[in-house]
Symmetry: none
Subunit: 224 residues, 2 copies
Amino acid sequence: MEKTKILVVDDESRMRKLVKDFLVRSNFEVLEAEDGAQALDMFFADQSISLIILDVMMPKMDGWQVCREVRAYSQVPIIMLTAKTNEQDELLGFQLGVDEYISKPFSPKILVARVEAVLRRSNGNASENVLSAGDITIDKTAHIVSVGDEQIELSYKEFELLAYFVENKGIALSREVILNHVWNYDYFGDARTIDTHVKKLRSKMGDRGEYIKTIWGYGYKFEC
Amino acid sequence: MEKTKILVVDDESRMRKLVKDFLVRSNFEVLEAEDGAQALDMFFADQSISLIILDVMMPKMDGWQVCREVRAYSQVPIIMLTAKTNEQDELLGFQLGVDEYISKPFSPKILVARVEAVLRRSNGNASENVLSAGDITIDKTAHIVSVGDEQIELSYKEFELLAYFVENKGIALSREVILNHVWNYDYFGDARTIDTHVKKLRSKMGDRGEYIKTIWGYGYKFEC
DNA sequence: GTTGTTTTTCACAAATTAAACATAAATGTA
DNA sequence: TACATTTATGTTTAATTTGTGAAAAACAAC
């Protein structure tokens, strides 16, 4: 497998070298940039960069600015290197879409651990936003469901219910469990409301309505 | 099976005790920490902790910070206890990788339900819920029974009964015992109803129906 | 407010299962 | 073998659960 590419941006070459060493030892590929402008050039030139580590304090263009520019075009994970973290900075950072902070000085272990954590998170979430089962595709971000090449219109609850079914395909789900997940835990209504939604889902899904199977005396199960 | 270990972090001992009581009653093992530092120590010392429940408001190190530190190394599920959830908090929390929120005050039912939901999610539903005996396989999660390569359709009670037999293979089960386990303790019907279900099971299982053996004057036994 | 949509509830028919029953078959015992 | 007891089985009945259409309620948009 390809090594994961990380762009390290810092004006001090000593710091760049340090970070690079740690990361290379953990089997990452590292690119270096010594200022914001160069970083942006490199990032937009190389589509395969998976993570950016950004020093906050840099002459000319500081880390926040670089972050802002990157975020205008990309959701690539960003880790900020800060001298000391104060709340003000963090708030700003999270608004800009910073994924993680590391305050200097840091241990190699912390650096690598956070890098891996951020990468894990970003990989995981991306794929979790599109669910599929057979020829059914559910885009949770866009709130769109496709059956075959047809797109179908679902209401909010119907969408949530179908997404829950697909997330748990092959698993028998009792009405109670369904209620607790798709509705709120403090919902005290009738469990039969599930039946009504299942009915609508089945009819909107046409042939594929059969995928929602009844488990008599228990609940439902989604299975292609 | 080992009990699932949960770390509860809250500076108020009253709240810790409350949460612990609910969880212990639901058969979890609970560790307590009264501040963030202690929590981190305990978490990194004990690799078998399956879930962390974190109060947001704590002196010294708050819940967010604890969360951040844990997430730097681990993907363990985290549930946050909040006084009241505002959007700002949630946004921050989800960026930090919080799995679930519970706002105070909460009911025991809600607490336990969310804990179980989060654990189920994190296990990827890869739970060990498959029983087998000879070439009979019972997937309790999917509610599917296979005999050889054939899948057979069982009603709810039949399924429960067969699962009970297989869970107790080789053991002679009296009608009374069977009634108490597969039916409810408050069932006052005729014990002969078991016979009817055994009859249907045997016929649906074909050859393997013989595995359900009659113990004359007592009950039944499952044996390959 | 009014209108339109979504969600929930309700009522009843249809489907399915569980339980009861009656009788035949099997088992154990004297 | 004969008899009492227990189990197997086919059938019937009762109970439960689900599907569905329509009405009511809740919610949003205008």
